[in-house]
Amino acid sequence: MSATSILLQFLNGLAGASALFLVAAGLSLIFGVTRIVNFAHGSLVMLGMYLAVALSEVVGFWWALPCAALAVAGLGALIESVLLRRLYRAPELLQLLATFALVLIIRDYALWQWGPEDLLGPRAPGMAGAVTIIGQPFPAYDLFLIAVGPAVLGALWLLLTRTRWGTLVRAATQDREMASALGVNQRLQFTSVFALGALLAGLGGALQLPREPATLKVDLAVVSDAFVVVVVGGLGSLPGAFVAALLIAEVKAFCIALGYSKLTLVVEFLIMALVLVLRPWGLMGRMPAPARGPAALEPPLAAPSPRVLAGLCTLLAALALVPLATTGFTLVLLTDMLVFALFAVSLHFISGPAGLHSFGHAAYFGLGAYGAGILALRIGAPMELSLATAPLLAGGGALLFGWFCVRLSGIYLAMLTLAFAQIAWSVAFQWDAVTGGSNGLIGIWPAPWLASKAAYFWLVLALACAAIALLWRALHSPFGYALRAARDSPLRADAIGIDARALQWAAFTVAGLFAGIAGALHAFSKGSISPESMAVARSVDGLVMVLLGGIQTLTGPLWGAALFTWLQDALARGFDYWRAAIGCVILALVLALPGGLGSLGGLLKRQGRA
């Protein structure tokens, strides 16, 4: 590679860094003040892109930029004041879930408004050509983009240090409680910060138009990138976000230039994992101010009463009889429900009692599924052996990733689990020779004696129930007690000889192993696997199931998994915009029943007494 092309790639990376910085800066500002990690931030970027395309036909490209950004800012203010304001006191998992519901709704809105095809944006008038740098052509618009990043950083810096509003925002970022105690009007502050963050997202999206078309898939891709930037730079730190955006964008640019474009995602997330392990609060982040007063109180986790156990056994018996009545679609749906019930229970195992909020649990589901498929198709192992071995692959993955993850806690842990899941996904997506790439694997069928729907259903019923029973048993074993103890009070746990990290690592591995069982069962029931089975959306599905049922109840994940699987199926079959419908259901549940379905019983009881 010549010096000239290195320089051009460097400039190319700088241009990419600008938009990334704008988006990450918005995410970081919003998190700093409201403590909400806005999953829908990528959706705001996407809206900015589509709006800019639409508006540039009316007012021209340059006017479309501020107009689109302002429109997205207005939407941001609306989202904050109508929805998020009700959730500031809710557990952080519920907040993430609510913003993920917005992702679903906004994506389906864009689908309805602009259709499924990518929209090509206009060229920037006056900057459509190229300038010559040391004899090589370089797009003029990219030079403009390179200037935008530092300009926005400077403007934000002035806003935050030279205005009263900015001083209050910095105060709230450092210590929200103290700022509020000193009389800062939080409503106005939160709404305005969210609007500013949305403005930056919208602008970041609109500015990208001359470089890439508006597409529906941009939302989750951009928000994963922005997560990486914000976490690498340090949550709440704007200079950190700038440095990290430069770092990530340059790494991307050079990976592509050197012909390793397939590695970009892996390299990007490896950087994040490395930074988090060495500097858990990011390159320029600080350890967050400790929360005052008692920590969030988790309700006790009661062992199931004899009545509940009897009910579950009756249900089990009834399920075992279903294949005698029907072998039609109901049986397929019930098989799915059982598989996802196991997936949800394994996620609940670590996110509830162990307090490790995983945002990448689908990685282990996917490792189990791909493990089964690869063993069966590529090595030709018998189905029984594949089914037994594949979960070990998932457990091995969890053992490796878990070692890093248990070194962090809270939102940082959530992001690291997400990062590892993205690595696993990108490997599955790109390693054509082994995983089949974006097509996945097809033709993974069970052994002849399990080939009938009824026989396979019985296998799933037996394995899922046994696995769930084991996990529940472990929660009420000394091991489970110690996990809850380490979650409730790390200080006390340490003072009575509990090695919290070792236990949590073990729990993470166990949860991965059991998710792997669910994944392997799923692969053989569908006959195929695609990378979708380990995508971010699948991880979030799992969280929705757990939270629907109630994270601190034992049986909640079962009902959550059953309801969600049914809902997804029923909506997806009859309705083009089923994702938005699921988003609305999630929002309704988060707002009306923050304790999950499991809390419904208690709620009704209290109402009855009143």
Partner: protein, 250 residues
């Protein structure tokens, strides 16, 4: 032989010398009170002994064996129980379960994933709770306990590993007068009966001078006095540390 022997202990945070060259010892069955004004270095001293902090210099010996720089969980295994200034208990678990966890940890049974925890160590847990006067509340969640009861629960937890040394950081803060005396009498009788060395900090001087066998006084991170309660009370340096020179001059 002393149960706890601390020699030349020092710790700085940036330019602040929180603890400077502190030495003392506690023998079995003895209650040693560590007192001093706010910021004297008492809590730092505790955290250095129990392993939450690593000293810059000095040694901590437990029954002649160095525990300097070990993590808290290793120090606990060697027989050091601790209660905290701000109570630290497992809020989502019942009072009995709190003690059961500590007992299970002591018995090295925590890694076992299949045993039925609710049935393990119940009698031992109840015995400890009875000792601390908490048996009648054994089935309540720790989250709903009154502050004084949390302190008693912490004592029960701290006794679960049959400690040789008990570190109690403000054991009676937030308790009523009668409760304080009862808790300290209980501690003293346990210390005598099981030959436990007790090191405690306390702001309430009545409690200190009534129940401590000996008193060590810290000020500005340094030991300024040590001895029998009556002797320490009469020491002019102690009065100066608490009241300031101006007050003495006036």
């Amino acid at each position: 032989m002393s149960v706890l022997q601390v020699s030349g202990l020092s710790k700085s945070f940036g330019g602040v010398h929180a603890v400077r060259n502190v030495s003392f010892a506690v023998v079995a069955g003895e209650l040693l009170a560590m007192i001093g004004p706010n910021g004297a270095g008492k809590s730092t001293c505790f955290n250095l002994i129990n392993g939450q902090l690593t000293p810059d210099a000095g040694r901590v010996l437990l029954e002649g064996r160095s525990i300097t720089g070990l993590p808290p969980r290793a120090i606990w295994r060697l027989g050091v129980g601790r209660t905290f200034q701000v109570t630290a208990t497992f809020a989502s678990m019942t009072v009995r379960e709190n003690v059961q966890v500590a007992l299970l940890s002591h018995a090295r049974r925590l890694p076992s994933p299949f045993a039925q925890a609710p049935r393990l160590q119940v009698a031992q847990a109840d015995a400890l709770l009875a000792q601390a006067g908490m048996l009648d509340q054994a089935d309540r969640p720790a989250a709903v306990l009154a502050y004084g009861d949390l302190k008693r629960l912490e004592l029960a937890i701290a006794l679960a590993n049959r400690p040789r040394l008990l570190l109690m950081d403000e054991p009676t803060a937030g308790m009523a007068c009668g409760e304080r005396a009862a808790l300290m009498r209980l501690t003293a009788s346990l210390a005598r009966a099981s030959a436990i060395a007790v090191l405690f900090t306390e702001h309430d001087m009545d409690t200190v001078f009534t129940h401590a066998d000996r008193v060590i006084v810290l000020a500005g991170g340094e030991r300024i006095a040590e001895g029998a309660p009556a002797k320490v009370r009469a020491d002019p340096r102690v009065r100066e540390a608490y009241l300031g020179t101006e007050a003495l001059d006036a």
